[in-house]
């Protein structure tokens, strides 16, 4: 099962490597990991997307909690939550392909950020499946370069992850 885990950790040198080291040392899957400081500069917020059996995911959350730099965490998949990822795609855009790509990005509420005679850069925001769907829609042959931020997540409603 896919799990999205949100982590608040001390914004200290080395904190990120403790988390990534934990995943590699214990052989846990890591689909994506994003991290940046929060409005409180002493704290970083991390979103980890991982897959595993319930037992493994339980160990992952326990082992993460055990890291001294981790302040708090929550498995977002246990509640209602929002997930967003940003993707920038450089696409081949020539001749009749140009309007087609423009149309597809409109459908996905994408924005064209850069235009040359032969290419577009499109920005798409959404959850992972939407981003995958966009890539499918434009077709492999048109894709020159893809960069994805990895998922960020937050719980819906009143619930919050804070100190």
């Amino acid at each position: 099962m896919r799990h999205v885990i949100a982590v608040l950790l001390e914004n200290e040198a080395g904190a990120l490597s403790r988390v990534s080291g934990l995943f590699s040392a214990r052989g846990y899957n890591i689909e994506s990991l994003t991290v940046a400081p929060t409005h409180d500069p002493t704290l970083s917020r991390m979103t980890i997307v991982t897959t595993g059996t319930e037992r493994v995911v339980e160990q992952i959350t326990k082992q993460l909690n055990k890291l001294v730099d981790v302040v708090r965490l929550t498995d977002l998949t246990e509640t209602q939550f929002l997930e967003r990822e940003v993707m920038l795609v450089k696409l081949r855009a020539v001749e009749q392909g140009r309007p087609e790509i423009k149309r597809v990005s409109d459908i996905f509420r994408g924005r064209i950020l850069d235009v040359t005679e032969s290419s577009y850069i499109v920005e798409i925001t959404g959850d992972a499946s939407k981003l995958d769907a966009f890539l499918n829609a434009v077709g492999k042959d048109n894709i020159i370069e893809v960069v994805r931020s990895g998922a960020t997540g937050i719980a819906r409603g009143e619930k919050s992850l804070k100190v």
Binding site: L9, E10, A13, G14, S17, R18, G21, A25, R55, E58, Q59, K62, Q63, N65, K66, V68, D69, V70, V71, V163
Partner: protein, 605 residues
């Protein structure tokens, strides 16, 4: 004057900086201006540190200079940094206080890694101070630079790279706090050389309590869970108490003994838990696991309620997990949530300090003693006694070669069971665990989780320093002892009268045993060829050596050695090369599928 004491130098009177500081201290609520080196030593003093186990080098020379100028923290000079870590570890295991290590950057730090990992696997509190190159050279491949924080990260509870002189004291304080609370473990503090330089000072203040919002070890267990656990415990008809290192680490043997006495249930210990209940107690059915007793493993297999206290369901204990305690409901008390349901799913988990949880459980048991199913438990005991009757530790004592088990038994006699026993890793370690019943906690000092050969002698140094009046023996093998033999020199320098019991079978016996059972006796590289003459080796280090070859000489030579109260004696016992450790649960087998000593006339129980 003790040999570890450097000549007294009164720094405060001499150094103008600190003299100024000390004058100011009178005025300004006792605040001192100190250099980083001095701050480190002062911090250790504040923590009540008696000994630092260390080895000097460029990156820690400022610190060594600060050590030289004081007398309250004693420095023990080892001969290899691995020895320093094991010695500090042995000290910690025997006393419960964090062991302290000081090594230089680069090779000093890497040499310490084995000892750090050893302590980590067994949850031993340690503070390891490593020198680092100057802060502005970090990352430049400077002389003797390694990424110490990176190298040690996977085998520490936590580590720090000190980022300024101002944060040094605070970091040391945090290191001690993290190392010794919750599930204990080693903490590394990497200190760049410039932050310990003399003349560069800052205000030293150690009074503020540690505050770490990200680290809050649990203490009391959840009352509802404790209630549920006690209900389950009292409902048991075939109960089994399985305790581990957590009871020792949590200094909770007293509460644990009361718990066992109230219930009168059978008790087994892991290798790390020995001594929580007296090894000679009737209720104790021996160690469990791969080389545990027949009765302990059979009782585990047959129990209906398993009460796991401060134990982590290690693979040496569970055997094949699918076949582990098939009929049991399981209660598990552990301070580390990650230990719970890691390998074996449990029914009633309790996260908390073992001592506090036991106090709460004891109270509830007292209120409900009448609900203990004494009759059913009595029948259960009768079954266990039958298993006990197989006398699974029995071995063939006839013949004119020394049996290693017999040496350990005689050692127990000669020391009245009252020695601190350290060991290395191998068959001798198992025989020590099986044949030297420990009546007290913190008497059995061995590397269980990592299984580090070379641990025995240096750890005995730490124990003997902590308890100079006590008997300390290191049970070792001719292969293991050679991994840290250089520490014989440390023993001479500090007059440590350790007794080394070398069970010399001229084989890496544990390896040979596996090769005999699983590789059709293809003894690939497990024979110890070209052994040194241990007697003259020991003598050249300035100690007493003895070689014992006849069973009849075992006891008298042990008596002779222990009569030399102020001497280290290396006793080289030439033992039976073919002896194996029994019982044994081989890989992939269940707890009820033990291989017994052929002296029993049957292979599988």
């Amino acid at each position: 004057m003790h040999p570890w004491q450097a000549p007294v130098r009164n720094k405060l009177a001499r150094n103008p900086v600190t003299r100024r500081a000390s004058r100011r201290a009178c005025k300004e609520a006792r605040q001192l201006e100190l250099s980083g080196g001095e701050i480190l030593i002062q911090s250790l003093k504040e923590e009540g540190v008696e000994f630092i186990f260390g080895y000097p080098g460029g990156a820690v020379l400022h610190i060594y200079d600060a050590i030289y100028q004081q007398n309250s923290v004693k420095h023990i000079l080892v001969r290899h940094e691995q020895g320093a870590t094991h010695a500090a570890d042995g000290y910690a295991r025997a006393t419960g206080k964090p062991g302290v290590v000081l090594v230089t950057s680069g090779p000093g730090a890497t040499n310490a890694v084995t000892g750090i990992a050893t302590a980590f696997m067994d949850s031993i509190p340690m503070v390891v101070i490593t020198g680092q190159v100057g802060s502005r050279y970090i990352g430049s491949d400077a002389f003797q630079e390694v990424d110490c924080v990176g190298i040690t990260r996977p085998c520490v509870k936590h580590n720090f790279l000190v980022d300024s002189l101002e944060n040094l004291a605070d970091t040391i304080k945090k290191a001690f706090y993290v190392a010794s609370t919750g599930r204990p473990g080693p903490v590394v503090v990497d200190i760049p050389k410039d932050f310990t330089a003399p003349g560069v000072t800052t205000t030293f203040d150690y009074s503020a309590p540690v505050e770490m919002r990200s680290y809050n070890p649990p203490s009391v267990g959840h009352p509802g869970q404790i209630r549920k656990a006690v209900d389950l415990i009292l409902s048991a008809e075939r109960p089994m108490i399985y305790s581990g290192g957590g009871v020792i680490l949590g200094d909770a043997s007293e509460e644990f003994r009361q718990f066992c006495k109230k219930l009168e249930y059978p008790v087994t210990n892991t290798l790390m838990g020995l001594g929580a209940i007296p090894g000679t107690d009737k209720q104790f059915v021996g160690m469990l696991g791969m080389h545990g007793t027949y009765e302990a493993n059979m009782a585990m297999h047959g129990c209906d309620v398993l009460i796991a206290i401060g134990a982590r369901f290690d693979d040496r204990v569970t055997g094949e997990v699918a076949r582990f305690c098939p009929n049991a409901k399981i209660v598990h008390v552990d301070v580390d949530p990650a230990s719970i349901s890691k390998t074996v799913t449990v029914d009633v988990p309790i996260v908390g300090e073992v001592g506090q949880v036991l106090v709460a459980m004891n109270k509830l048991i007292d209120e409900n003693v009448d609900s203990i199913k004494r009759e059913a438990v009595g029948q259960w005991w009768a079954e266990i006694e039958k298993w006990r009757g197989t006398n699974c530790l029995q071995y063939d004592r006839s013949g004119d070669v020394i049996k290693p088990q017999m040496v350990v038994q005689e050692l127990w006699e000669v020391t009245s069971g009252d020695a601190y026993i350290t060991s290395d890793v191998g068959q001798h370690q198992m025989w020590a665990a099986q044949f030297y019943p420990f009546d007290k906690p913190r008497r059995w000092i061995n590397s269980g989780g990592l299984g580090t050969m070379g641990f025995g002698l240096p750890s005995a140094i730490g124990v003997q320093l902590a308890y100079p009046e006590s008997m300390v023996a290191c049970i070792t093998g001719e292969a293991s002892i050679q991994m840290c033999i250089q520490e014989l020199s440390t023993c001479l320098q500090y007059d440590l009268p350790i007794k080394i019991i070398n069970l010399n079978n001229r084989y890496m016996g544990m390896v040979r045993q596996w090769q005999e059972f699983s590789y059709e006796k293809r003894y690939s590289h497990s024979y110890m060829d070209a052994l040194p003459d241990f007697v003259s080796l020991t003598e050249s280090y300035g100690h007493v050596g003895m070689k014992i070859e006849k069973p009849g000489d075992v006891k008298s030579s042990l008596e002779e050695a222990f009569a030399m109260k102020d001497k280290l004696v290396f006793m080289d016992f030439i033992t039976d090369q073919t002896e194996n450790v029994y019982p044994m649960i081989e890989a992939g087998k269940g707890q009820d599928e033990m291989r017994l000593n052929p002296a029993h006339g049957r292979e599988l129980a």
